[in-house]
Each structure stands twice: as C-alpha cells, then as structure tokens.
C-alpha cells in the first residue's frame, strides 16, 4: 500500500500532539535533517517532529499507523550508513528533546536514560560519580538511542564488549503506538525470547526506543597506553593475535598507519609524539592500580619486542595519552578533509585481520585507487576507506564498488560480517542480503512483519527495498 503524503490537516494533527513549535516543515527542514554522515545524497522528510515524552511518541505512532505515514527515528544524525534518513519521506522523529538522564542507580550500578542523551555527556556524568559506561564509539556526539539502534561498538570492545552488552532494558513504542518494556533492572533474564536484544541494532525498523536501562561498571582507577612502532603494517597486525594469546586483555588495540597519521597531524595542526615508523599498534590497559598495570604492560611490551617491534612507547599520564588519542580520534575527519570516501566497516575474526588488511593493500595496487584503513585490530573490526583523490567521480565510484564487492566477498570467506558497528542503513543492504543468505533474510522479514505490519517504521532500511534503491543499487553490480 502506498504511503500517504502529509497534507495540511496532517500537519495540524502533528502540531496538536507535540506543540506547534516542535513540528518543522518546508524550508524549516534544513539539510541536516535530510542526510547523515554517509554522503551527499539528500532525502527530505515531509515533516520533522520533536516529541518530548513517551506519551507523545505513542500518540505520534498511533496517528502514523492509522494514516500510513512512514516514521524515521533520528538521534544526532551521525550515522554512516543512512540509517536515520527518511528515504521514503514521511516523518523524521527527532529524539533531541528526549535527552534526560533519568536515574543513576548506585545500588544496582545501572542508569535509566532517554534516547536523546549524548554519549559523551553520559560518559562524563557517570564518571563523575565513580562509575563507568564502557561502550566507546568514536563519534562521541552520537545519542545513546542511536548507539543502541546500531549496536555501536567502539575502541573498548576488546575488553568490555559492545553497546548490546550494556543494554538490559528498553521501553519502546510499537508501530501502532503500544508501549512495551523489555528486560529491566535485572542482571539475569531467561524469560522467553529476548525482545530486548531484537530491538538493539534494529535501526528503528521494529519500534521507537523511548527509554534505556544501561548497565554500568565501577570506574577503573588507572589507565596506560602503549604506542608500539613496527617496521611494517603487516608486522604490526600480525602481532595482535600474539598479544591476545598472552592473555593480557587490553581494553583497546588499534592499528595506525603513517599515511593516516600524517593526515590527522595536518588536520589537527598538531604533531604526533612519534613519527619513526610506517605502522603502529596502539594499546590501552585499564586497571585498579599502577602495580597491576605495570606487570601487564611489561608482559605485553616483551611480546611486541619479540614480534619485531622497534620499541614500545609508554603513555602513562593524561597529557601523554591525550597526545595520542586525540590524533586517533581525528582520523575519520582527517580523511574526509583530504578526499571524498567510500567506507567499509567489515568485521572478521581477530585472527584474520592481518589477512584482510593485506587483501586491501593488494586491492589498492590492483584498482589504482588509494585505500586507507585503520581500526580496531583487537576485535577484528576494520574501517577501510576508498579515496576519490583526483579520480573523476564516475570512475572512482566504479572502482570503489569493485573494491567493496571484493572486500565483502573476502570478509565472507574469512567468516566475517558486513558491519562491525555502523549498521546497515540503506547503504549496506545488498551486501547484507548476500552475506546472510535467503533463510536468514526470510526470518528477518517475518520479524519485521510482526512488529511493523504496515511497514511504516524506517522503511527502506536494513533489508527492505525502497526508493533509495534506484539511487544506490543501480550503481552496484552486486545484486545481479
């Protein structure tokens, strides 16, 4: 059934639910609401509504369900796959006003928040109370609701896991406006199918999340980072499984290559503390005291030196750590400032990461397009970028899609997955379909139909076809 377009009467209905000043339409809808961080393609919603309560979200969905209007939920719009973009028009539901930290429960080590709370504000808020929210995606201005909807990962996944591991309860509004609560403030839960986990990572296609109950940990007292220079990228990455095998459990293991570092130095106008090597591993350890940390990092340092590291550089103070991590944090922005990019966010078993990186290097030579990567070497999640540089747009996109097809195919061979942490959105759908196969896609379709029989929740995302297909998919040979 075709979706309804928003008439004037419809806008009045929306205004009566959230208040007239919280409905944007026409020229009030700036470009920001028409895209995310993926690309320049713009999809303009017919209205942006900004509710402030679960009650209002419920009324909105009830109304949208009745009138068959698509609803795309949006946090900060920092996604990288088009997940929060209204490819079918309709309403963008912004969580910007649902940004309250409702409770920090010191007894249970849990917090209850609204979905529009910004990640970095939440991290700081709980850390000031001696607590710690481990998920640490690179984009700190993302919302927690967005993090949960994409099951965002981040740097600390090696030790602490990803967002999913810290979401123990959700309040969500179903397509017809019904409010449900899944999970809750319980540590264990074997009560039927976990709808909680089904909603996590569902990118707004199953329900609209309105409240999150998050698990916290005591804040680690001390941290130390090691910057380990290697004579080659291959030697750096091949050391990672040896570190993991030494059972030292770093919080993060990242790999850096000189070309990306230099771009970040230029972007920040700030020198990195070492420039002696073509490639580095960057490790962080968390612990409760200096003695514990020293024994762990010394063991790791010896593993690295035995594996051919040039040296192991120690960052043991906040200033020293910032000099490294600030640069690491600027990688994506630095690459974006240098050239247009196509991104791949594959994840492979940690033991296969060296093989995969080598594959991207070979592809770079074969396709004659610059391919740079950095990422979470410790958890197998790579961010690979195909740069346009001086190439004409058509030619670059042709080579980029060729590269992406090859990389996803290679990842599948290595028993990897399409997306480690960014999600599928509309951009990665063909690759998901090919990677998961018919049986799993069929199950997903069944689940979607149960939750959203009219298909009004974030249509055109994760798996379902949409108008965006005509833009994106025709450019790709993947489907044929």
């Amino acid at each position: 059934m075709p979706y309804s377009k928003l008439s004037k009467g419809f806008l009045e209905a929306l205004r009566s639910i959230v208040g007239p000043q919280h409905v944007l339409c026409g020229t009030q809808i700036t470009e920001d609401y028409q895209r995310d961080e993926l690309a320049e393609d713009l999809f303009c919603p017919e209205a942006v509504v900004v509710p402030e309560s679960t009650e209002q979200v419920s009324q909105l969905l009830q109304w949208a369900f009745e009138h068959n209007v698509p609803v795309t939920t949006r946090g900060s719009g920092t996604g990288l796959c088009g997940g929060s973009v209204a490819v079918e028009g309709g309403i963008v539901l912004s969580t910007a006003r649902m940004n309250q930290i409702l409770e920090v429960d010191q007894q249970n080590l849990m917090a209850v928040v609204q979905p529009g709370v910004i990640l970095m504000e939440f991290q700081k808020f709980v850390e000031d109370q001696g607590l710690f929210y481990p998920p640490d995606p690179g984009e700190k201005t993302a919302t927690l609701g967005g993090n949960v909807s994409t099951n965002a990962g981040g740097m600390r996944a090696v030790k602490y896991g990803v967002t999913r591991d810290y979401v123990i309860g959700l309040e969500a509004v179903l397509a017809d406006g019904t409010v449900i609560e899944t999970g809750g403030k319980v540590v264990k839960n074997s009560s039927g199918y976990s709808l909680n986990h089904l909603l996590i990572g569902s990118e707004g296609t199953l329900a609209v999340i309105t409240k999150l109950t998050l698990k916290l940990l005591p804040k680690p007292e001390k941290q130390i980072s090691l910057l380990v220079p290697f004579p080659s990228l291959r030697e750096a990455i091949e050391t990672v499984p040896r570190i993991l095998a030494a059972k030292v459990v770093p919080t993060a293991i990242e790999f850096l290559q000189r070309e990306v570092l230099e771009a970040a130095e230029k972007y920040l106008g700030k020198q990195f503390p070492d420039s002696s090597a073509p490639a580095y591993l960057l490790l962080t350890f968390y612990g409760q005291n200096v003695v514990e940390l020293e024994s762990v990092y010394e063991k790791t340092a010896h593993v690295c030196l035995d594996a051919g590291a040039i040296d192991v550089l120690i960052a043991n103070s906040p200033d020293r750590q910032e000099s490294i991590w600030q640069t690491r944090g600027a990688f994506l922005e630095a690459l974006k400032a240098m050239s247009a990019l196509e991104e791949v966010d594959v994840v492979v078993p940690p033991s296969e990461i060296a093989a995969f990186v080598q594959f991207t290097k070979d592809l770079e030579a074969e396709l004659e397009a610059r391919i740079l990567s950095f990422g979470h070497a410790g958890d197998g999640n790579l961010h690979v970028y195909i740069l346009q540089d001086e190439l004409p747009k058509d030619e670059w996109q042709r080579r980029a899609h060729q590269a992406m097809d090859a990389m996803y195919a290679r990842a599948k061979q290595l028993r990897g997955q399409v997306s480690g942490e960014h999600g599928i959105g509309y951009a990665k759908r063909p690759y998901l379909r090919s990677s998961l196969g018919a049986a799993q896609m069929q199950l997903m379709r069944g689940i979607k139909d149960v939750f959203d029989p009219k298909g009004i929740l974030n249509p055109g995302k994760v798996w379902s076809p949409s108008a965006a297909d005509s833009v994106k998919l025709e450019e790709s040979n993947w489907m044929h």
Partner: protein, 274 residues
C-alpha cells in the same frame, strides 16, 4: 657538544588537588604524581638539541625521595644523568629558595652550556623559578620560548612568545630559557630505554653537598614569601541555557551583548530594514 641541564619537578597528576582549609597548603598525600607537563617540553627540547648537535642532557629536581620517579622517566625519554636535590631542610621553599637551591645544584655540576625549564609548574603556576635561577647564576635568559632553532657560534637561536607578537633572538651561551607548550611535541617513554636504564644511579645531593651556606637560605627559612591565605577561586561554572529558533536566539544574544556592554549598538542590517 653541549651540556644541557633541564630542571624538572614532580607535581600532582590532577589539578583538582584538595587544599588544607587551615594551612592553605595543597594536600598532595595520596594523589598520583607526574612530571610537570611543561617540563616534558623542556626535556624534549634538550634531547632534540642533543640528537642534533651531540652533547649530554642532565636533569635536576628538588623534591622528596619519591621524586626519583620523574628522573627515571627522564632517563626513559633520553636524559643521560639525573640529580636529585633532597634534604628535609629544602621543604617549604618558596620560589626564591627553590631557585637558590636549584642554582646551587647547577653550580656544582660546573660546565653547563644551556639550562632549560618549563615555563611554569602546574601546581604553583608562578613561572618565577626559571628566571630566578638565571639571575642567581648571572646568566642571560628568556622566558616563554616557543621555538628553539639551533645552537651555533653566536649562541642559541630562539623565538619568544610575546602574546600578540613573536620575538626572534639569540642568546650567548651559557644561558637559560623557559619553554611553552608550543615548542615541540614531547616524545613518549621508551620501554627499551626503561630496560637499559633501570640500573642507572640517581645521584642524591643534600644541602651540604651543594652549599656552604647555612640552612637559612633553604626551605621555609629561606623563603621571604609569606602566604597570607590560600583559597580556591570561585568557580565560574554558572551558565544558562537558551532554547528557541535561530532568530529568537540571535536576537536574544544580541540584546544580551548590548545590555552587558560587550558591544555597542551599530547598524544591524536586519534592523535597518524594518
């Protein structure tokens, strides 16, 4: 071949150190400590000069026995020799007594071409000790150096940060400079050097080692500064949050800037239209 001395200090890691409400002194007990962040830039400048021109780098610190940690760190960055000025009689020193103690330590070292200090410490923030040492030793000095170019026959070539201007100058050796955070990016600690230097000695000099002067030049007795009162300043964290459309917000901001006299009423284009 130059002999460079770098003055370093162990300071609390966090700037949120609590203060004794009665004595007004900083409660350093139990707080984690680090090398004064500014000193890292001084040490990096010294090691870089050594790498380029040859020579040796000696670090010197005044402090209690645990200050050995910062000397070990200096070894891990590339220092060749470490001196610790440690004596109960040095305790409670103000900037004059500290400058005097360090200058006496440097005198005992003898042949020194260049002394580098961080601009200031993060626990005292006076920026007086560097220039104090130079005056006591009768050396030319420049504070707030943001670029160290080179050493040649004419001396040391540097750029100094003058706030809204940069001064380029050369100083005859021996001399003293204090450096800002703009001067370089300090290197990290080398694990290889950690292993190589773990048996290196740290020389400890007490008052008798550095001076024939009596105790009243040192520590509390040698400190003319009288601290009347120490208190944390009123935190300026009051803020208010405005919400509304861009137009409302910009008009409100404009009104506020005018009311608070940050700006004067001028010809705002959208006003003149109406």
């Amino acid at each position: 071949m130059v002999h460079i001395v770098v003055c370093i200090k162990q300071v609390p890691e966090s700037r949120d150190v609590e203060m004794d409400p009665v004595t007004g002194s900083l409660l350093r007990e139990g707080a984690a400590s680090v090398m004064n962040p500014f000193d890292l830039y001084g040490l990096e400048a010294a090691i870089a000069l050594k790498e380029h021109h040859g020579g040796t780098v000696t670090v010197i610190t005044m402090g209690p026995p645990q200050a050995e940690d910062v000397i070990r760190e200096a070894y891990m960055m590339g220092a060749d020799r470490g001196i610790m000025l440690s004596d109960r009689e040095f305790a409670g020193a103000d900037t004059l007594a500290t400058s005097y103690t360090l200058s006496q330590g440097i005198r005992r070292l003898g042949d020194v071409d260049l002394i580098i200090c961080g601009l200031q410490t993060t626990d005292g923030d006076t920026a007086q000790v560097g220039p104090g040492i130079a005056e006591l030793l009768g050396l030319p000095h420049e504070a707030a150096v943001q670029t160290v170019h080179k050493v040649d026959e004419a001396g040391l070539w540097v750029q100094r940060d003058m706030g809204d201007m940069v001064m380029e100058l050369s100083l005859k050796l021996p001399c003293l400079i204090t450096v800002t955070r703009q001067v370089n990016q300090p290197r990290l600690l080398s694990f290889r050097r950690k292993m190589a230097t773990k048996d290196w000695p740290v020389e400890v000099w007490n008052r008798a080692d550095i001076s024939a002067d009596g105790p009243d030049y040192f520590g509390l007795d040698g400190s003319p500064t009288q601290v009347e009162r120490m208190f944390p300043p009123e935190p300026h964290d009051q803020h208010e949050r405005w919400e509304g459309t861009s137009r409302d917000l910009s008009e409100r901001l404009q009104k506020w800037l005018l009311d608070e006299k940050f700006v004067e009423q001028g010809a705002a284009p959208w006003k003149s239209e109406s």
